[in-house]
């Protein structure tokens, strides 16, 4: 009766009647039959009673069928395919290999997917579409071959979030099943489980089973530096604690050396004995920064045989060390007023931590019978020039001769200290520069003047005339000789200062240095005015040469020359000079007596690279970036008077700071970063450079420019950090996957294949044709019903029933 073109049918009954009427008809029919049956209860002839009831039933039923108009509904129906979503873990932990060195988790997952290709074909034939996604930090469609590609592995696994994205993608669509292939490591909201409320809601909302397949190992062997606990910045000479959490699995009983390295050099180490099948150890390092800067640190543990992953055995981090006080070593070959007034202002300056060593007597001086009657102590050459050298921000060699004090062996170290970022100021005198024999020592490499090679104490290295130092063109714009921000007033101040007496003669100022003050008449070895004050750089450090020992007169003598008593009976300088404080150093704050103090304050700030004095500034958006986050840098250029310098071309160079080789351009999202780029500052003396996203690691950004004050270089370090929690414990976690499967009605499998996984049939269907065939709607059916009722009525009358 049903043609093969129809693949769906059903019988409709009373579909045309309102539900109330339909119910009333059915109730009436039932009542009629029941009434007949009740009336025949207790009748003497049961057979006749049964016949009467049967006739009533048949008659009422026939009439009811006619009223309900039964019909056969025939349809030609086709199903719409639903989706099967396969979610493959594409995170870095999937690169873990078993202890025997077999295929990694990702490789095993890839093999599983490849082997399931026939199954996927069957699913398609059964009306399912197979969609493949790769998930890590987020969910993204991926071709089957690329889903487990090691390249570009994600830094995190956020399974719960990925399922949430899946629900959003399939909202209003028919999802037959989801299949998750993962090692169970999650650093999102699920973590180590149990599932959070949001993930539970997501699973309920999917409306489809989520099957989970674990790609892990029963045993894994791994050692990792799972976390580093350190402040973002520290103060020079203030001890800090750097802690690392070392996690191990399957390496019980091993002793490993955990090292702390700074800029590639090991600075500390700890032996750690690993205990238990899986354990966590906290390793603490104490470190005292000895100079400011941005440092790149690494805490590393060795990669042991059979380890699941080697790249989680080290962590890189940056630490910015800032200076709270400038630590100055003042070494003086002989007490003098120049030393005395410099010491006076240094010890009063709250920003200076002063350590002094003065030679108060020499081998030639008379010694008392009992040396204990002297308060003097031997010159601590090794302590200050070797052990403590790098703790100083600035060395001041104040008319100090190295020769009698066994200092010569340390001078190479002093040179290295300066070239490595330290600072030195040499102040003149008969024991300084060429007369001090420094022309024969490694210090000549860092001093900003070329010294004649003279034996120590040689008078030819000095002259004794009285002269007024002349400010040079370079000196007019240099921060060291800035007694006033107003250029004209600055020049005036220099011209009215008391004259100097005595000069250390040098061959010349080195090329590339800044000669700030010169002798008005004497010439150097090249015929140019003899330098009096020269500032220069040496490697990463700075050096200053003040070629006289009479600069103290810029303060004391000038204060006396100002004359007169201060109003109110107190010296003007006492009444709140601030800064260095005190009447003496602030002498003549309103006059020339302040020049000595101002000069040395400037010199110290310049020597130690006080950031406030930097005319080229480079400011990254932040110190640490996440992988993929674009690195932006703001550049500022300033004139010597600290107003913006517009239109300055700045060259920006990028180099890796934690690896020997430059890694610029490696593994970067969104194109290659520039190794070197140029920009020009705008009217506000600012420029912004976007370096794009950089590969994880520490990066040193150097800016170079030629400013009015000369060439300037500035450096900053930034860290691009990969999400590290992904690898802190690489043991696979079945519990999370099992819970996901159970809650969603799916199945959990520990490896194996995908055969037999339940996929919900498609819900959506399309109706092609349909036909209605009416049943029993023939007039004879009504006649039959009425006839049966008539017979029943007749028999009932004859048998005496009402």
């Amino acid at each position: 009766m049903i043609d093969s073109q129809w693949n769906d049918w059903w019988i409709s009954l009373g579909g045309h009647l309102p539900p109330g009427l339909l119910a009333l008809l059915c109730a009436a029919a039932g009542f009629a039959v029941a009434l007949s049956a009740v009336s025949l209860l207790g009748a003497r002839r049961p057979a006749r009673s049964a016949l009467l009831v049967a006739l009533r039933l048949g008659g009422v039923g026939a009439c009811l069928l006619v009223a309900l108009e039964p019909a056969l509904e025939l349809r030609q129906v086709s199903s719409l395919p639903n989706q099967v979503a396969i979610l493959v873990d594409g995170s870095r932990s999937m690169q873990v290999r078993p202890p025997d060195g077999g295929p990694s988790r990702a490789e095993r997952a890839a093999a599983l997917l490849r082997g399931s290709a026939p199954l996927f074909d069957r699913w398609r034939q059964d009306g399912h579409r197979v969609d493949v996604f790769r998930f890590g930090e987020s969910l993204a469609p991926a071709p089957l071959d690329a889903a487990v590609d090691a390249a570009g592995a994600a830094d995190a696994t956020r399974t719960g979030e990925a399922l949430g994205e899946l629900r959003a993608r399939y909202a209003g669509r028919d999802l037959g099943a989801a299949i998750v292939l993962s090692d169970g490591i999650d650093n999102g909201r699920i973590g180590r489980g149990p599932l959070d409320a949001e993930t539970r809601a997501v699973l309920a909302g999917l409306g489809a089973p989520v099957h989970t397949v674990l790609t892990g190992e029963p045993h894994v062997r791994d050692l990792s530096v799972s976390a580093v606990l350190a402040d973002e910045f520290a103060f020079v000479r203030t001890p800090i604690k750097i802690e690392a959490i070392i996690r191990q699995r399957g390496l019980a009983g091993r002793v490993v050396d955990v090292t702390l390295s700074r800029d590639g050099r090991t600075v500390d180490g700890r032996a750690v004995e690993l205990g238990g099948e899986a354990s966590e150890h906290r390793v603490a390092f104490d470190w005292t920064p000895d100079h400011p800067g941005n440092f790149v640190f690494e805490i590393a543990a060795p990669v042991l045989g059979g380890e699941a992953l080697g790249e989680n055995n080290a962590q890189v981090f940056t630490l910015k060390v800032i200076r709270d006080r400038v630590r100055v070593l003042h070494v003086c070959g002989r007490p003098s007023w120049d030393e005395r007034f410099l010491r006076s202002l240094l010890r009063r300056d709250p920003n200076v931590d002063l350590v002094s060593f003065f030679i108060l007597r020499t081998q030639e001086d008379m010694e008392p019978l009992d040396a204990r009657e002297l308060s003097l102590i031997p010159f601590p050459d090794k302590e200050i020039f070797h052990d403590q050298l790098r703790s100083f921000d600035l060395l001041v060699f104040h008319n100090f001769n190295y020769l009698p004090y066994k200092v010569e062996p340390y001078l190479a170290g002093v040179r290295d200290y300066v070239e490595g970022g330290g600072a030195i100021a040499m102040v003149g005198g008969d024991l300084s520069f060429g007369s001090g024999g420094y022309g024969l020592t490694p210090l000549r490499d860092v001093l900003p003047v070329e010294l004649d090679v003279l034996p120590p104490g040689e008078d030819r290295g000095t002259s004794t005339d009285v002269f007024r130092a002349r400010l040079t063109a370079e000196g007019r714009g240099h921060p060291v000789t800035s007694l006033s921000l107003d250029a004209r007033e600055n020049e005036v101040r220099w011209t009215v200062l008391p004259p100097l007496e005595g000069l250390n003669r040098v061959h010349r100022a080195k090329p590339g240095t800044a000669t700030l003050l010169v002798h008005p008449s004497q010439k150097d070895g090249t015929g140019r005015p003899a330098p009096v004050l020269v500032a220069g750089t040496a490697g990463k450090g700075r050096a200053l040469a003040l070629l006289t020992d009479s600069a103290w007169q810029w303060g004391f003598l000038a204060a006396g020359a100002a004359g007169g008593a201060e109003p109110g009976g107190r010296p003007a300088g006492e009444s709140g000079s601030g800064g260095a404080g005190g009447a003496e150093t602030a002498a003549g704050a309103s006059g020339a007596g302040r020049a000595f103090q101002r000069f040395w304050e400037n010199a110290i700030r310049w020597l130690v690279r006080d950031p406030a004095l930097t005319l080229l500034r480079i400011e990254p958006d932040r110190v640490e970036y996440r992988r993929g986050q674009p690195v932006g840098v703001r550049i500022r250029t300033l004139r010597p008077d600290y107003t913006p310098a517009a239109g300055v071309e700045v060259t920006l160079a990028l180099a890796s700071a934690d690896r020997p080789a430059d890694r610029a351009g490696e593994d970067r999202a969104g194109g290659k970063p520039p190794r070197e780029t140029r920009t020009t500052t705008n009217q506000d003396g600012e420029a912004r450079v976007d370096l794009g996203a950089l590969a994880p690691g520490a990066w040193r950004i150097s800016a170079g420019a030629t400013l009015e004050s000369g060439a300037a270089i500035e450096e900053q370090t930034v860290l691009v950090r990969a999400e590290w929690r992904e690898l802190e414990d690489v043991a696979s976690r079945a519990d999370v996957l099992r819970e996901i499967a159970n809650l969603s009605g799916g199945w959990f499998r520990d490896g194996g294949d995908l055969e037999g996984l339940r996929i919900r049939p498609p819900r959506e269907r399309r109706i092609g044709k349909q036909k209605t065939v009416e049943l029993w709607s023939h007039p004879g059916m009504l006649a039959l019903g009425l006839a049966l009722l008539a017979i029943e009525w007749t028999l009932r009358r004859r048998s005496g029933h009402a």
Binding site: V331, R334, P335, S336, W337, D338, E339, R340, F341, R343, S344, R347, V355, S356, F357, F358, I359, L360, T362, E364, D365, M366, E367, P368, L369, R372, E373, L374, S375, I377, P378, F379, P380, I384, G428, G429, D430, D459, T462, T464, L500, E501, L503, T548, D549, S550, Q553, G555, F556, G560, G563, G564, A565, E566, G569, E574, G582, A583, E584, A587
Partner: protein, 266 residues
């Protein structure tokens, strides 16, 4: 740390040799070359006030000589250049941060203008050593000095210098400061800006120092004789070293060494 070059041995012989030189009374020392420029050498400015003659001529050149011999200081080769007589109104007053005022009698107070110059000198970094040659405490000079200091540094009265002050160990480790006499068992000072700007002794410190033209001591030292004289020299050296180095010896690096020696001495 820091301070001296300390070769081993030979100290007694050298001391005796130097003592011999002292006996010869030689006040010229063509020794080190020294310093560039005359202003770099250490000079003593002797304040010459009207009506106050120098009671101890020759004392300060002798101190300068001792400084040259005992310390690394460089002083002018000629005694006449090592000590400069200065009036308060002298234009060169501020070329000499170290001043000495010595007297044996009361003196007239300088005019206000001179007083202001002295105040400016002391406040801006200068140093004044006052020494009474009266041989007793509380004489006319003492009264005049106190009045002068009251005018120069009003509100900052001389006070006894504490036993633990760095002045007692700025070069030698000392427990007191006798001069030609021991008129007062203490030394006073005036502090300005965390440093002593004035040191005042009533023990005729300068009286213990000078010799005559034949090398003999000009004045007897009582009651301690030569050992007391040596202490007077040592105190003079300490005062100069303190003026030049301030509290250098209080830096942490020095304290342990110095305290240890001090304990041994006692």
């Amino acid at each position: 740390m820091g301070g001296q070059h300390n070769p081993a041995g030979g100290s007694r012989r050298r001391f005796l040799a130097l003592a011999g030189l002292c006996g010869a009374g030689a006040l010229s020392w063509p020794r080190r070359a020294l310093a560039i420029g005359d202003r770099s050498k250490f000079r003593i400015g002797r304040l010459a006030l009207p009506g106050l003659p120098d009671p101890r001529p020759g004392a300060l050149p002798r101190l300068a000589w001792e400084l040259e011999r005992r310390t690394s200081l460089v002083v002018p080769a000629e005694a006449s250049q090592a000590v400069v007589d200065l009036r308060l109104s002298d234009p060169d007053l501020f070329r000499h941060p170290f001043l000495v005022l010595s007297g044996d009698r009361a003196f007239a107070q300088p005019p206000d203008e001179d007083t202001a110059r002295l105040r400016r000198h002391l406040v801006f970094g200068g140093f004044l050593l006052c020494d009474s040659a009266e041989g007793r405490a509380g004489g006319g000079f003492d009264e005049s000095v106190r009045r002068l200091l009251q005018r120069v540094l009003p509100g900052d009265l001389p006070a006894r210098i504490a036993d633990d002050h760095v002045l007692w160990r700025s070069f030698y480790v000392l427990g007191g400061a006798p001069g030609r006499v021991q008129a007062a068992p203490y030394v006073e000072g005036v502090e300005r800006d965390r440093r002593l700007a004035v040191v005042y002794s009533q023990n005729d410190l300068l009286g213990a120092w000078p010799r005559d033209g034949f090398g003999r001591w000009l004045h007897d030292v009582v009651p301690g004789g030569d050992s007391q004289r040596e202490l007077a020299f040592r105190f003079g050296v300490n005062v100069v070293m303190y003026a030049l180095c301030l509290d250098y010896k209080t830096e942490q690096a020095h304290i342990e060494y110095i305290l240890k020696r001090r304990r041994q001495l006692r």
